[in-house]
Amino acid sequence: MRRLFDEELADLDSSFTEMGMLVSQTIQKAVQSFVDHDREGARQILENDHQINEREAAIEKKTFEMIALYQPVTTDLREIVTILKAVSVLERMGDQARNIANSTIRVKGTKHIASIEQELGVIGEMVANMVSQVMEYYVKNDALGAESIAEANHKLSQSAAKVRTDSVNGMKENADLVDSAADYLVIAGYLKRIGDYTTDIAEWIVYKRTGKIIELNPGYNFFI
């Protein structure tokens, strides 16, 4: 029975990490579509969002079954709880990618600020990397690595805050930029939120490894 449980846990683990990779790619594509003003790309993100939701539901169902059938304890229980909690976070990240795609489709501004769009592209890359990084820490059971995500998230917050300042300044200088700059503000907010979510997953990785519940997103990371 141990063998059977281990096999099922290994399957659960790979479904979870696969979903993490899918979410990371989706975020990257969403930001790229926004920067490229690529509505078709954004539509694909919306069409594929159900895949992320279905994976979340399947993984949750499996964790319920494993808890009910095997009554896991200690590290097994922590691993299953970590997946159960973190999978909802991944799904919420997917929703943020969907929000970015929606903004891309609805965008009204005809005048853009190239430097800010470039900056958003960089932040999008940064946050997608944080997501794949945190999944790697999960796979390697690396609690120290997971804690280091807090530092990356702090940098991300600063970049997002810079986008905010630049957008507001752009609006002040030229009223024609208000439509686009308002979008930049919103997108930066979505990306900042995804960054915060990676710290949520990192907290659960620390819990899985050590059994301790910690806080990796202290109050100084604010956006507005």
Binding site: M1, R2, R3, L4, F5, E65, A68, L69, Y70, Q71
Partner: protein, 256 residues
């Protein structure tokens, strides 16, 4: 766990059993697939063991027991007057709560049924011993001591030798009546591992008082209460989302 529907090996309908005037089973309808483990759970006196023993006519040996209902086992009517119980019990083997090795060698224990059948060819017997003991996951532990007494083995090993003795007859269905309740946790786990391996090839019905055992190893679970079958379903449904309140109360430990 196997979700796909397998062929039915045993189909029972309206099974009733009386101890004298007292009806102990009140009309059980239950089918079993030809692969995998079905667990029968329920509190003491719920009828699960009584039902299990009816499946290979163990009650024939008791006075005053009446069994009615239909028992279709791969086309054989279990209770037909023409059905030979010795032959039936080769096809439906039983493993009991207490390991019950006979007081002779491990080798002779395993081939006991084959000897009764008149098999004398040593090559055939040797092959059966090795195959059965391997299937019962005890070969590596006893292969150098095959001619020593089975009584010298640990309880868990004795139980696996008892399983091998049943498997030597190449049964179509295995009945297990609380096969681990007399064993320590490690031996119980070994037996569970053995059953998990066997479930790829055999149909098994296990009566168990341990709900965690039922949830760990069985594909389907049937819940008995007061001589009635309350609910039968895939094990994960019984333990996550049973349809009947009584099942819910029992599996969550509220009674029994």
């Amino acid at each position: 766990m196997t979700d796909k529907q397998e062929k039915t090996i045993l189909s029972t309908r309206d099974v009733r059993l009386w101890y004298g005037q007292k009806e102990a089973l009140h009309g059980i309808d239950l089918d079993f697939p030809n692969k995998g483990i079905t667990a029968l759970i329920g509190p003491s006196g719920s009828g699960k063991t009584t039902y299990l023993r009816a499946l290979n006519r163990m009650h024939d040996l008791e006075d005053g027991v009446t069994v009615t209902g239909s028992f279709n086992f791969n086309g054989t009517d279990i209770y037909a007057p023409t059905t030979d119980t010795v032959d039936l019990r080769k096809r439906i083997g039983m493993v009991f709560q207490q390991p019950n090795p006979f007081p002779f060698s491990i080798y002779e224990n395993v081939i006991f049924g084959l000897r009764l059948d008149g098999v004398k060819d040593k090559a055939v017997l040797d092959e059966a011993v090795e195959r059965s003991l391997k299937q019962a996951s005890v070969w590596d532990e006893v292969k150098d001591d095959l001619h020593k007494s089975a009584l010298g083995l640990s309880g868990g090993q004795q139980q696996r030798v008892s399983i091998a003795r049943v498997l030597a007859m190449s049964p179509e269905l295995l009945l297990l009546d609380e096969p681990t309740s007399a064993l320590d946790p490690i031996s119980s786990r070994n037996i569970e591992e053995t059953l998990l391996k066997l479930r790829e090839d055999y149909a098994m019905i296990i009566v168990t008082h341990s709900m965690s055992q039922a949830s760990r190893i069985s594909d389907r679970t049937a819940f008995f209460l007061s001589g009635n079958l309350i609910e039968v379903d895939q094990t994960k449904h019984i333990f996550l989302n049973p349809q009947k309140q009584e099942t819910q109360d029992y599996v969550s430990g509220r009674f029994g």
